[in-house]
Assembly symmetry: C2
Homo-oligomer: 396 residues x 2
């Protein structure tokens, strides 16, 4: 479409306006290290495509005052984070600032048609409310393996009906714009790198502890997705032969021992057996106990709850220690719903990783909590949507 400039340069120009705000033509040419004439021609074309516009004058650099260029204010990205039991959605402007946000419970097991129908309903309502006229691009994360290239979920274990459902094409048809689909943990890794604690690192792991457990792998400045798009799927890594049978059929997977689902099971058992008076008191008031009850118990000092969190932290830590020795990343970020278990969990994970990983690999490696918290996923989905709209990130 835009042949004047290689896609990589075009992406850099638009991403610079996204991240740095309005800039003069001269500055943009400097940033790209390119011939000014070529940049001007490209900018003219971007103006005609309604991606950028002129925005008044820059302060003078001595000569003729130059016009500022900014992203077009009508640009809108929809960023969607589909969880096992939730939909988080933001509509952002070109600079990824949210202009509208919706979070609501959901059940991914109802299948792709009902889930995406609900996403479309939310977006239609936001459109009527004036959040956008037309979407520029959509980014969406799903809680299972995704073929990034094809924009479809592939063999997701806990999502009946989603296998190979054409998520990208269905949304693209509905909204008349390009759509990017990725795994929920990958969008979190992208989000934390873009606007969170991993801002300054090129190689890091984002560990998501939620209903399930997954790991976003960020290498050389980009998400590593693996041959089949399922890299980072560590929930079914084996940790203990003596562990319970996992939903996947194997014995002693990480997720069968720790994670939101395992914690709910263990908390209910502790409540019923009376081993935790704190949890036993809560049980009659709820349909089922959850990780939040365990977190409350840990804060309250309930020994059984503290023990659940600590032993879970040790399990996660032992897997993470191996991954740190294996990949030698610059940083570990921990996010997802269970990050709410807080510093008891973090302390346990740190203790195991720093003791068990190769010391050379942990010397300068921080293990920290996500800075963006529950927004991490939608921030990453918005970044991917904008990267898609702005052209490929690849070097020519």
């Amino acid at each position: 479409m835009l042949d004047a400039m290689p896609a990589g340069h075009r992406h850099r120009l638009l991403a610079h306006l996204r991240d740095q705000g309005p800039r003069s033509r001269a500055e943009l040419a400097d940033v790209l290290g390119m011939n000014r004439g070529r940049v001007l021609a490209e900018l003219d074309q971007l103006v005609r495509s309604n991606l950028v516009r002129e925005a008044g004058f820059a302060s003078s650099r001595g000569g003729r005052r130059s016009t500022l260029i900014e992203l077009h204010p009508d640009i809108r990205f929809a960023a969607v984070d589909i969880g096992v039991s939730s939909i988080d959605l933001e509509v952002t402007d070109g600079s990824l600032h949210p202009v509208a946000a919706v979070s609501e419970p959901a059940d991914v097991r109802l299948g792709p048609r009902r889930t995406l129908h609900r996403v479309n309903e939310i977006l239609a309502k936001l459109q009527v409310d004036g959040a956008f006229e037309q979407l520029t691009a959509v980014g969406i994360g799903l809680p299972g393996p995704v073929s990034f290239r094809d924009g479809i979920p592939v063999s997701p274990p806990i999502m009946p009906g989603w296998d190979r459902f054409p998520v990208r094409d269905a949304l693209a048809r509905e909204h008349g714009c390009p759509v990017v689909v990725d795994n929920d943990v990958n969008i979190m890794a992208v989000g934390e790198r873009y606007g969170g604690v991993a801002r300054s690192v090129d190689d890091y792991l984002f560990l998501k502890l939620g209903s399930g457990i997954g790991c976003g792998i960020f290498l050389d400045g980009d998400v590593y997705r693996g041959t089949d798009g399922c890299a980072g799927d560590i929930g079914h890594m084996w940790v203990d032969d003596r562990g319970p049978v996992c939903a996947c059929g194997n014995v002693g997977c990480l997720e069968s021992l720790f994670g939101g689902t395992a914690l709910a099971r263990d908390a209910t058992a502790l409540a019923r057996s009376g081993k935790s008076s704190f949890l036993a008191e809560r049980l009659p008031h709820r349909p089922e106990l959850t990780a939040e009850d365990v977190a409350a118990g840990a804060v309250d000092g309930d020994p059984a709850c503290l023990n659940l969190v600590r032993s879970g932290g040790r399990r996660v830590g032992s897997v993470l220690a191996g991954l740190v020795s294996f990949l030698n990343p610059s940083m570990i970020v921990i996010g997802g719903g269970l990050a709410g278990l807080g510093h008891v969990l973090l302390a346990e994970i740190r203790s195991v990783v720093y003791r068990r990983s190769l010391s050379l690999a942990t010397g300068n490696m921080p293990i920290v909590m996500s800075e963006l918290g529950p927004r991490t996923g939608v921030v990453g989905a918005a970044v991917l949507a904008s990267d898609l709209a702005f052209g490929t990130q690849e070097q020519e």
Copy 2:
């Protein structure tokens, strides 16, 4: 030095001649997709630098017969693979064909001065014998973590005296040419990708089973070395709380349970206790038993030896299963001295990985033995040396 052409193009041109043999100027311009005039100017400069030369006429394509260009026949790379107990060395021509090869026992624990002195002695002898007049570049692999950027070993656990020894600079001074230093497992990963079974894949793991255990990580067509250069150091990943205390001080590391050193210890114990009659018969004739005795016992059907190999395969398999779920590679290649344990080992590893890894990740993933065998390391060292001499591989 060579400003006419970006380093990435220059590397592609020379690597094409290295891998495809002599080519006409016209073909080279086509391959690079570049302006012919610019390619001709660059080739003239490469001729003056003695990196390429004219080599007779190409078969006619209809018009004027064009001259073939080939790598200069005097190009020589020294490729060195330093093991814990061996030096393997090849001198190759520009196309990486060996013109001389030396393998001899050594002891890396004697320190860098004596080890590198021996490498230089071998090279001096080969020079006198006419293998080369002047080295173009040297590639060398060391059995421990290496800072690739700085060309020095960093905190190698089993190499007293090597920590931060300036290996690259010492060899560069001695031979008056550029030198590249890497970890031994990384050079094996490079070698197998260049000339072995991993030729056609961009993302794979090279598992080295030798005295120690390590893993070369090949991602997106290049070795992934990690933040501190110690990525792939899986020998000290934890596998069993009930395991022995490892040389590193932790309990139950993979290397404390399997690998050449662990096998030698276990074989000696089985021989002394009489639990293996096969090994007991061998013990009086040797200073110590080694993995080779275990391999011989397994081939002979000795139950204790077979059991050692099988349980080792299960250990390695369980670690590998986790790494496969984590990284979702296209292929696993197994090499190193213990690859000689053969199909019993391979069968056990395959069985565990295919059972325990995410099925999506193993669907199309072969687990195979190294094709290059003991030469894998030197082949990789030669590739790295030539890449260094031919200019950076990076895209501009």
